[in-house]
Amino acid sequence: MNSSVLRVLVADDMAISRLPLCAMVSALGHEVISVEGGAAAVEQVVHHAPDLLLLDLWMPDMDGFEVIGQVRSAVTHRWLPVIVISSLEGDEHFIEALRRGADDYLSRPINPALLEAKLRHYARVLGLQSERQRLDRMKDEFLATVSHELRTPLTSILGALGLLASGAAGALPKAALPLAEVAKRNGERLSHLIDDILDLTKLEGNKMVLQLRRCSLEALLGEAVAANQAYAERAGVRLQTDLATSTPEARLDPERFLQIMANLLSNAIKHSAAGDVVMVKLLVKGAQLQVLVQDRGPGIDPQFRQKMFEKFSQADSSDRRAQGGTGLGLYITRILVERMGGRVWVDSVHGQGATFGVEFSTADSDAMTPDSPQPRACLLYIDSDVDARARVAQWLQPLCSVVGVGDLQQARSELTRTGGLIVLADPQAQGAAEPFCAALKNVAQGRAVLLYSDAIDDAFASRMGLTWLRKSATSWSVLLAAVRNALETTSMENQR
């Protein structure tokens, strides 16, 4: 979007007011699309993605309040400013429109100077917003690259130090050994920091894929304790367990659960004195499974307890220096636990240790996640346009889950991983369309493939033997119907 020119949709049934308004908007240098009714307005919002909607509140087919509601549920991945217009006296209907989700209002007769000021204002805000999204994306990519690039030299540094410190390259002089160990320990700390930053980027960018499956917490806790044993021994701390047996399974991502436990255990060990015990308990409380990690360390200041699961929080900067840590571990822990449908908390009496708890529902009680007999159908959507991916995921949400990927290479691995049933793809920005479609058919391995694009035509689609939907002309309901149709055909074929 050019930051100063807006694409404005004008919805008004009366030509006598619509035409002058369109002329005004156009004279201000903006692009205008106009419609004569509410239903048409919703349709246009979906198809032509205007930047702003000027909406007459009173139209015979659908009133403005209803239009606002439908527009808000159709456009969820971006902000579409809606300015309502009315010639009625009084403010009540404007107040109601704002309550229903409008952003602003104009009274008739419209003051051209006020219209100009408002459009300029929204152009600026939208410009800032898209700039911020671009910067967010750049930041994510930058952090991921940096984290990855940092690990390569770190591999050599830590490798060399590990070999030196273990005497593999010959015994070090007595005074040199502690130095090699200091360097190695701090290299490891740096490595954990990089892991945490990468996790954080993924979690906050909503890019972390959890592999939820039924797991036994008993077995996972055994694994978690074993994995942290070496660290505990180095600190002179004993890890003990008291685990309920034959517990029901929970539905979670086992790798991420181990990461949660590693955070809680290392935290407990870090705050324990040599000779202390850290206790890990597994309890069944009705339909809930509780894991407790108890230490006998100094405990947690009540004031700090409230914010300890927030980002970059540590009790104080001296604590940071004494214990080492990034201030990210508990925050990442909380986000991971919550993503898996659980909760995390802490109980502590200052001076008498702390107990961290995490709780998950048992897999059988979890009505939110239907189990394996009826898995949700999955569609793989290949499109380089992130916004289109978000939109289609939203649209198809009632029907199937949508896994969006940017190119064929990701498609190949995601298709195997997710067991996607059908493939939707836009050949635009994927190199030449013909080889792309040939490779696509190869990747799809017999699955139904729908092309969803503005960059191709009927002749091309029929030459490739693929179904084609024109992206800009396919409404939500048409796409939904096409996908439903393809899914039904697929499931009938599978039954045969």
Binding site: I157, D199, T416
Partner: protein, 133 residues
């Protein structure tokens, strides 16, 4: 395949190559053939006849998955476990790499003192899979 003796290692970073050589040869007592890239590995494999291949993922020229696919076409590589090394440590990325047909994934930074043991576990695992076939 009686024992794990020869490891072919493909890694573009010369410093990491040195660490791996030290780890596998000096600590692990294994015979190591180092290659700076996938093309070289394809030439070396039929001569060196490795028991296991340790393969970096992100390399200029042929990348890890491409090298794996090309190695798999060589008659001498049938049933030889291939283990990826990667600095991308996220579980979903590890999962993705396994789908290329690798026996395992070693995450960077790795511990050079335990690397020989770890690849031996993968080698035994790979041998078990072949025995099952």
């Amino acid at each position: 395949m009686s024992d794990l003796r020869r490891v072919l290692c493909v890694e573009d970073d010369p410093d990491i190559r040195m660490i791996i050589e030290f780890s596998l040869a000096t600590v692990g007592g294994l015979e190591v053939c180092l290659c700076a890239g996938g093309q070289l590995a394809l030439k070396q494999a039929p001569v060196f006849l490795p028991d296991l291949v340790l393969l970096d993922v992100m390399m200029p020229g042929l990348n890890g998955p491409e090298t794996l696919a090309a190695l798999r076409l060589l008659p001498c590589m049938q049933g030889v476990p291939i283990v990826f090394m990667t600095a991308k440590a996220m579980p979903d990325e590890v999962e993705e790499l396994l789908q290329y047909g690798a026996t395992g994934v070693i995450v960077k930074p790795f511990d050079p003192m335990t690397l020989p043991q770890n690849i031996r576990i993968y080698w035994e695992h790979g041998r078990d899979i072949c025995a099952d076939l």
